[in-house]
Symmetry: C2
Subunit: 458 residues, 2 copies
């Protein structure tokens, strides 16, 4: 066949680039586990009626059909028959909770890092196949508010550990606060008001203001107050007084203010130079079915990507009619963050192979001895590979160099005829005697490929 | 919605069961990396013409279609238009090698652990979605035979590290050996002879013998010799003499004998009680396009699953017309091995959550202090969760017990009014003072969920 070309919207990594993705996934996984979140994987497919459950057909679901399927058989369609690929990890997780409720312990904390698929037109930062990392806490019947604080804290801490990434700003708001404010203000259509406010990151405020009047039925004064509310941000609970000063009152608003203040007070101490949480009263999360806390996240210097980590509180993540399962969670767009940075060369692995050592081969007759030396290294967890051929030593060094392997081990013959080994750090040229059974690199970081960051070219 | 029911052929694990799968994947990954195999992930979809490249439409490919797709648009079909889900990891890997050849270093070692999909009728050990773990070594133009030895050694070593699984027998043969033997014998249709010999694990030898005569055109004597060859097994190179004693001669047979003897001599020293490699001259791998070494693997006590780990040498894994990429590899059916063992309860994780410690909460007012103690534990890599409520202490202990959390940490007040902590091992009842900033479990294995094996009920 001819050289294949990449499929638009289906990003793939080279082996060195994959180091970055694996490091991110391992770091996130461990951060989540430290907080008691267990890992779950769900199947890639769900029944179409589940995928279309919210009546939201704007998601471009990929529907499946077996190649050999009888042409007359019921095929997947828009009416909800058949199966499709999941477009997020929330729908399959809600189904998993209902299906296994009798075997799970609540509150149930899970993290899930999997690919999802959307048949959207590919554009910058949007893919047809991409990886998400979700954390959720689900309760049976009830779920105390302190779990909202918990998911924020866990994600902040996890993002903080991805030290090779740019900084993050986790923006948090509360639906009760804004819905209560709009209602207290006398807005005739609270939902529509919220949907329009959500457009503030894509549209100038004065245009949103006009829409609030023409589409949400607000007076000019009410619209102005909604826009004013959305300008409030704070890294502590000072936003409460600012909102109160606007003179709007409602019980729901009070509840929202208390929740948001509690969350920001409990999480602000985690703020660092790189990762910070702010109360941002413009965050509304549009059409999604959140009922309290809502999160969005911007990546410093990549604001055009939009929110790369979003979520919030659902009072009914799932329900089987008898029992309701409230949940709170956040979903990080792993591909959305990594693919642009990797493709621009800002992030990469420092070598193309896991090998720390290339074991040189003097001649094919001594390959078995080289294999043995390699096994001695592996026995104490030093990754290595044996040279594929017995080329001249200089050539074998260049072979290691091209792969980014830092060390070359080679056999020498002592005067008494026994074999001895020396190891060369090909970055420095330093060469020392080495026993394959005990040798380890001076820098532990040489044991595994490392993520390296390069200054982005402007 | 009503309680959903599982989809046949799409197995999913509970959180404790997922521990087993994660441990297997982590162990395999590290074993492969120690030998210089780098990880790669390919997209889930391939163009249909790639998936049907070998003209083999017996694979039940799932074809994809976007829900919103214009009904008149070209839809995926048997003529090779559109996209489908990959049914193995070899087709996408061959495409990946061609697509990225200029950026890869050869010989290129990669491992790939991903889900694949086949729309087959589900049956024991066969799934519609399942995980495979593949290792391959690919050369440009040439690939020396010692890499055949290498992949066998790497997979043997990796399987050896999965100590909680039953034993494995890796059966190895060589296509050159059997094809050379059939040709030297004067078989009129070598391919068909090989295809029929491959049926020996499903059909009695005398019936295969009849088919060799009726369908492959052998004489009774030739058929008997082919069946005799297939009875030969050996854990060392003694098979060579047995084959020679049968009086059949051909250059290809000689080449095959030499290769297989080399492989078995080099790998037999790795045999253990649990994991062994044998030369088994009945292994043919039917229709697959192998050109030398072929592998199959049986799981002790689960022989009815068939081969759970298969592969071999392809002289042309991929080709772009100018350059050919020979490869040798083995694919382990992770789901095929694990799902039956997990579903029968033979394998499970020892707890439902990653938490080593439950931090008790005396009352909601002291939740912040409990959170702080938890953070002190996490800071030195001890996973923990804070009790979701301030129930009576006995209730909090039972909460930990249900999750399999071994330790409960709780605050006590000293006479001077300062807080102190004690930790209780709820398995033994032992309770000792503990500083959350330094405490660690006596047994390091308590730090993470462990895989436990249970005697299978007969």
């Amino acid at each position: 066949m001819n050289k294949p070309t990449p499929l638009s919207g289906f990003p793939e990594f080279l082996p060195s680039q994959r180091t970055v993705e694996r490091e991110v996934i391992a770091t996130l996984s461990r951060a989540f586990e430290l907080h008691g979140f267990g890992n779950v994987e769900t199947r890639a497919v769900e029944p179409m009626d589940q995928l279309l459950r919210k009546g939201d057909t704007s998601k471009e679901v990929y529907v499946l059909r077996r190649l050999q399927e009888d042409d007359n058989a019921a095929v997947p369609n828009r009416e909800g028959k058949g199966m499709g690929l999941h477009f997020d990890l929330t729908v399959p997780f809600a189904r998993y909770v209902l299906e296994n409720a009798g075997k799970l312990e609540f509150p149930f904390r899970r993290y899930q890092i999997q690919k999802v698929w959307r048949g959207e037109r590919p554009q910058e930062g949007r893919f047809r196949e991409f990886t998400q990392a979700d954390i959720d806490i689900v309760g049976r019947d009830t779920l105390p508010f302190h779990h909202d604080v918990e998911v924020a804290r866990v994600m902040l801490e996890a993002l903080g550990k991805l030290t090779f990434l740019p900084g993050f700003t986790l923006q948090v708001n509360n639906r009760k606060l804004i819905q209560g404010f709009y209602a207290g203000l006398g807005a005739p259509d609270v939902e529509e008001t919220m949907r329009l406010i959500d457009k503030l990151d894509k549209m100038p405020a004065d245009e949103v203001g006009k829409l609030l009047v023409s589409e949400a039925g607000l007076t000019d004064e009410q619209a102005a107050k909604c826009l004013e509310l959305a300008t409030i941000t704070a890294t502590d609970d000072t936003f409460v007084e600012k909102v109160r000063a606007m003179g709007v009152e409602s019980d729901l608003l009070d509840e929202g203010l208390t929740e948001l203040a509690t969350l920001i007070n409990a999480t602000a101490p985690l703020n660092t130079e790189r990762v910070r949480i702010v109360a941002d009263l413009s965050i509304a999360r549009g059409l999604d079915y959140y009922t309290g806390t809502v999160f969005e996240t911007r990546l410093d210097g990549y604001e055009s990507l939009g929110s790369i980590c979003s979520g919030g509180r659902y009072d009914a993540l799932a329900s089987d009619g008898k029992t309701t399962y409230p949940g709170v969670g956040i979903s990080l767009g792993v591909s959305r963050v990594l693919v642009p940075l990797v493709q621009k060369g800002v992030l990469d692995g420092d070598r193309k192979v896991p090998s720390t050592v290339l074991v040189a081969v003097n001649d094919e007759e001594s390959r078995a001895a080289a294999d043995e030396a390699a096994q001695a290294l592996r026995a104490h967890d030093v990754a290595c590979e044996v040279s594929p051929n017995a080329a001249k030593f200089g050539k074998q060094i260049r072979f290691a160099e091209r792969r980014g392997i830092p060390y070359v081990l080679f056999a020498t013959r002592r005067e008494d005829g026994t074999e001895a080994y020396e190891i060369k750090d090909i970055r420095t040229g330093e060469q020392v005697p080495a026993d394959p059974a005990t040798w380890a690199p001076t820098n532990e970081s040489d044991l595994k490929p490392q993520v390296v960051t390069k200054e982005q070219e402007k």
